[in-house]
C-alpha cells in the first residue's frame, strides 16, 4: 500500500497501555514532534485524556493527530479475551489504522500479547514467515555495526512458545534484516542459541535449522552459540524459540537488577566500599548510559507486513520518542520488504 504522504512517516501510538498512563506516551510523541520533522504521531486512545495531556506540554500541533478509542487492554488482561470483549480497544484500533494505511507503523507500550494478537488480526505475515517474532536488544561487551551499538538482538523472546526449524530460519533472516537496517550493520553475524557450539548439539529443530542456515547465501551465519556468549556479544543476532528467549531475557534482567542491588548493599555496608564505589561513579554512570535500554526505544515484532515496535510498559517519554524514531527508520528502510527478499527462495 502506498504511504499516506510521501516524505512523511506516520506512527500510531497506543496511548493507553503504558504503566505510567497516557501522559508519558503523549509526552514521548510530543517530544518526537519537536525533534523529527518528518515523523507524524497519531495518538490512539481516550481523546479527553490525550487532549488534557497534550494541552500543557510543548509540542508541534502540525505533526500530531488524535484518533479516539474508548477502551483499552490492561497489563493483566488475557489478550484474546480482552480483544474479543473490547474491539474498540486502543491497541486494536491502532493496528487497524496501520493496516488501513492511516499510519505507517505502530508503537505499543502496553500488554505485549494484546499488541501481537491485535497486529496478527490486522496485519499480514510476510510470505515465508509462519510466526511473528518478538526481538529484544540487550547490552553486550562488544560493539556492533557502523553505529558501534553496544547492543545485540535476540529473537524470539516470547511471541511463540515453540519454533520449528522453518521458524528459526525465518527468525534468523528477520533478525539479520533488522540489524542491517536499524544498526547499519552491513553483514550482521547470526547465531543459533544451543547447548554447545557443535552443529549436532541441541534439539532436532535447532540441528535442522543449523543445517539449513549454513547453506543459506547472503546470511552471515556463524553457527551455534551458548548462553555465555549472549552478554559477550559473540553474535550480532541470536536466534532461539520464544520460550528459551524469554527465559534468557528475564535472566539477563535479573542479573542486572541483582548487581544493582548488590552495589546498593555495598554502598550502605562499609565506608571503604562506599568510597570505592564513589571513585567508580563516573565509570558506572557511563556504563549505565551505554546500557540504557531507553535510548533503544523498544523491541520490534518482526514477520508482519507492517512495523510494530513494542515499547517497554514502564517506558518514559524519551524511550517512547526513541521507539517512534526506530519505527520510522524501519518504515523508511522498508524493513518488511528486506525481510521478504531475504526469505525468497
Amino acid at each position: 500500500m502506498p504511504r499516506l504522504m510521501p516524505g512523511s512517516i506516520t506512527i500510531a501510538f497506543d496511548v493507553m497501555g503504558s504503566d505510567h498512563g497516557p501522559m508519558e506516551v503523549v509526552r514521548g510523541a510530543a517530544q518526537l514532534s519537536l525533534e523529527a520533522p518528518h515523523i507524524h504521531a497519531l495518538l490512539v486512545g481516550q481523546r479527553a485524556a490525550i487532549d488534557a495531556a497534550l494541552a500543557g506540554i510543548r509540542h508541534n500541533g502540525e505533526r500530531i493527530s488524535v484518533h479516539h478509542a474508548p477502551d483499552f487492554v490492561g497489563m493483566g488482561e488475557k489478550p484474546e479475551h480482552a480483544l474479543r470483549d473490547k474491539p474498540e480497544a486502543s491497541v486494536a484500533v491502532a493496528a487497524r489504522l496501520v493496516a488501513d494505511g492511516e499510519a505507517d507503523a505502530m508503537v505499543a507500550p502496553g500488554n505485549t500479547g494484546a499488541a501481537i494478537v491485535a497486529c496478527a488480526r490486522s496485519f499480514k505475515l510476510i510470505p515465508g514467515v509462519r510466526r511473528a517474532a518478538l526481538a529484544a536488544v540487550y547490552p553486550t561487551r562488544t560493539r556492533h555495526g557502523s553505529k558501534l551499538d553496544p547492543f545485540s538482538l535476540i529473537l524470539d523472546v516470547g511471541a511463540t512458545l515453540e519454533a520449528s526449524a522453518d521458524d528459526l530460519v525465518a527468525f534468523a533472516v528477520m533478525g539479520s534484516a533488522y540489524a542491517r537496517v536499524i544498526s547499519r550493520n552491513a553483514h550482521p553475524s547470526v547465531a543459533l542459541l544451543s547447548n554447545g557450539t557443535e552443529p549436532n548439539k541441541g534439539p532436532p529443530n535447532v540441528v535442522e535449522a543449523h543445517r539449513r542456515l549454513i547453506a543459506m547465501k547472503g546470511l552471515h551465519f556463524i553457527g551455534n552459540v551458548e548462553g555465555v556468549d549472549i552478554p559477550q556479544g559473540s553474535a550480532d543476532v541470536v536466534v532461539c524459540d520464544g520460550f528459551v528467549g524469554n527465559v534468557c531475557l528475564k535472566m539477563l534482567e535479573g542479573v542486572h537488577d541483582t548487581v544493582a542491588e548488590l552495589a546498593r548493599y555495598a554502598y550502605r555496608s562499609k565506608l571503604k566500599w562506599r568510597l570505592g564505589l564513589a571513585m567508580l561513579s563516573s565509570g558506572i554512570r557511563q556504563l549505565q548510559a551505554v546500557t540504557d535500554w531507553q535510548q533503544y526505544g523498544g523491541a520490534p515484532v518482526l514477520g508482519f507486513n507492517r512495523i510494530l515496535i513494542k515499547a517497554h510498559g514502564r517506558s518514559r517519554a524519551r524511550a517512547i520518542a526513541n521507539a517512534g524514531k526506530v519505527a520510522a527508520k524501519a518504515v523508511a528502510a522498508q524493513l518488511p520488504r528486506a525481510i521478504a527478499e531475504g526469505l525468497r527462495p
Binding site: 494541552a55 510543548r58 508541534n60
Partner: protein, 347 residues
C-alpha cells in the same frame, strides 16, 4: 510620507494589527550574533512566516480595512522592513517602530527590552484615530508579551479594566512615568467600545497552547496561519476560497502537506474552537466558482482528510468559557524574557 496612500476613502471597518518579528517574519535574535545578523539583513534576505503574507492579502481584499503594523524593531530598520513588505505584496497603512536609539541615549534600559509601555501606548494612540464602530483582529507571537498586551488593550478600550487597576499594572510593570502618562492620555481620547474579535498568537516557540487559556477564548494560539484562516472562516471574517488560497500558498511555497494541514485543523477542533461547519464550506468552495483550486493538489485531498480527522475524534468538547483576566497575576507575561525560555509561564 512613509505610509502608502489609502485608496479607499471610506473609514475602515476592519482593523488588523500585526506584530512583525516572529509574527510576520521568521526572526532569530535570541543571541547577540543573531540580533546582529537580523539587523544587517537586506529586505530580500528576510523570510516571512508561511501563509502570513497570503493571510494579510486575503484580509485586505475586503477593501474596507486598515493594516496597522507594530514592531519592537528599531526605527533604523524601517526601509528594510518596508522593502520586505513590498516584496511580499503587503499593503499597510501604519508601520510603527520603536525608538530604541532614543531609549539608549536616555539610559532607559527597561524601555529598550520591555514592550508593554511602547506597544500599549502605540495601540491606544492608533485606536484613538480609528472609527468607533470598526472591529479589530490582532496578531502577535509567544516570544514576547503580545498575548498580555493585546488582551489588556482589548479590555481597556472595552472598559473592562478600571483606571485604578491599570495604574497598579503599569506600576508593577515598572513603566517609566512618561510612558504611563502617555497611556492615560491616549486612553482619554478613546470612546468605549468592544471591537477586538480575536487575538492570534503565533506559536513561534511552540509554547503549550494551554498557557494562553488564562486570557480566555478570545486569544487563539496558532501553530501556523492556516489555523488562523480557519478560525477566521468560522468567525465569518474570511470566505472558504480565501482560506484555500492561504493553504495553497503554504503548500506551494513552504512545503506544507496534507498531513500538516489536516493535523492543524484537528488541533483546533480538539481545543474546542467552533469549526464544525468549516469542512463543509471548504468542500463547497471547491465545487463553486473557485473550482480552479480543485486542480491545485492536494486541495481536494486536504478537504477530504478534514472530515476524517473530525470523525476520528468522537464527541466534540464544549467551547471554552469566557474568563475574566487578572492582569496583575499575569504580569510575568509582560516582562522581558531572558534567554531561550520555552514559554512565559514555564512548564
Amino acid at each position: 510620507m512613509t505610509l502608502p496612500d489609502r485608496i479607499d476613502p471610506r473609514p475602515p471597518k476592519h482593523i488588523y494589527r500585526w506584530d512583525l518579528d516572529k509574527t510576520y517574519l521568521q526572526s532569530e535574535f535570541d543571541t547577540f550574533r543573531q540580533l546582529m545578523r537580523s539587523a544587517f539583513q537586506k529586505a530580500s534576505d528576510k523570510v516571512a512566516i508561511p501563509g502570513a503574507a497570503a493571510l494579510i492579502r486575503e484580509l485586505r481584499a475586503r477593501g474596507d480595512s486598515k493594516l496597522f503594523i507594530l514592531s519592537g524593531s528599531p526605527k533604523q530598520m524601517r526601509a528594510v522592513l518596508e522593502g520586505k513588505l513590498r516584496l511580499d505584496g503587503v499593503e499597510w497603512d501604519e508601520l510603527v517602530l520603536k525608538d530604541n536609539v532614543r531609549n539608549l541615549l536616555r539610559g532607559r534600559f527597561r524601555a529598550l527590552r520591555g514592550q508593554l509601555g511602547f506597544k500599549l501606548n502605540a495601540l491606544l494612540e492608533s485606536r484613538a484615530a480609528t472609527p468607533v464602530d470598526s472591529d479589530e483582529i490582532l496578531f502577535g507571537d509567544d516570544a514576547e508579551a503580545d498575548a498580555f498586551i493585546y488582551s489588556l488593550y482589548a479590555d481597556l478600550i472595552a472598559g473592562r479594566v478600571k483606571e485604578d487597576d491599570l495604574r497598579k499594572i503599569v506600576v508593577a510593570a515598572e513603566l517609566y512615568r512618561d510612558e504611563v502618562a502617555a497611556i492615560f492620555r491616549s486612553l482619554e481620547k478613546i470612546s468605549t467600545a468592544d471591537p477586538v474579535r480575536r487575538i492570534f498568537i503565533h506559536l513561534d516557540r511552540l509554547t503549550p497552547p494551554a498557557v494562553f487559556s488564562t486570557f480566555g477564548p478570545r486569544v487563539v494560539p496558532v501553530f501556523n496561519y492556516f489555523q488562523a484562516a480557519l478560525v477566521l472562516l468560522g468567525d465569518g471574517a474570511l470566505t472558504a476560497p480565501q482560506v484555500l488560497r492561504v493553504a495553497a500558498e503554504m503548500v506551494q511555497s513552504a512545503g506544507y502537506n496534507l498531513l500538516m494541514l489536516s493535523n492543524s485543523f484537528q488541533d483546533l477542533i480538539r481545543r474546542g474552537l467552533p469549526l464544525d461547519k468549516v469542512a463543509a464550506s471548504l468542500t463547497q468552495a471547491l465545487d463553486g466558482p473557485e473550482a480552479l483550486l480543485s486542480a491545485l493538489r492536494p486541495m481536494p485531498d486536504i478537504v477530504a482528510a478534514f472530515s476524517k480527522r473530525i470523525a476520528a475524534l468522537g464527541t466534540p468538547p464544549a467551547p471554552p468559557a469566557p474568563v475574566s483576566v487578572d492582569y496583575l497575576a499575569l504580569l510575568k507575561h509582560a516582562r522581558p524574557r531572558t534567554g531561550k525560555q520555552a514559554d512565559p509561564i514555564g512548564e
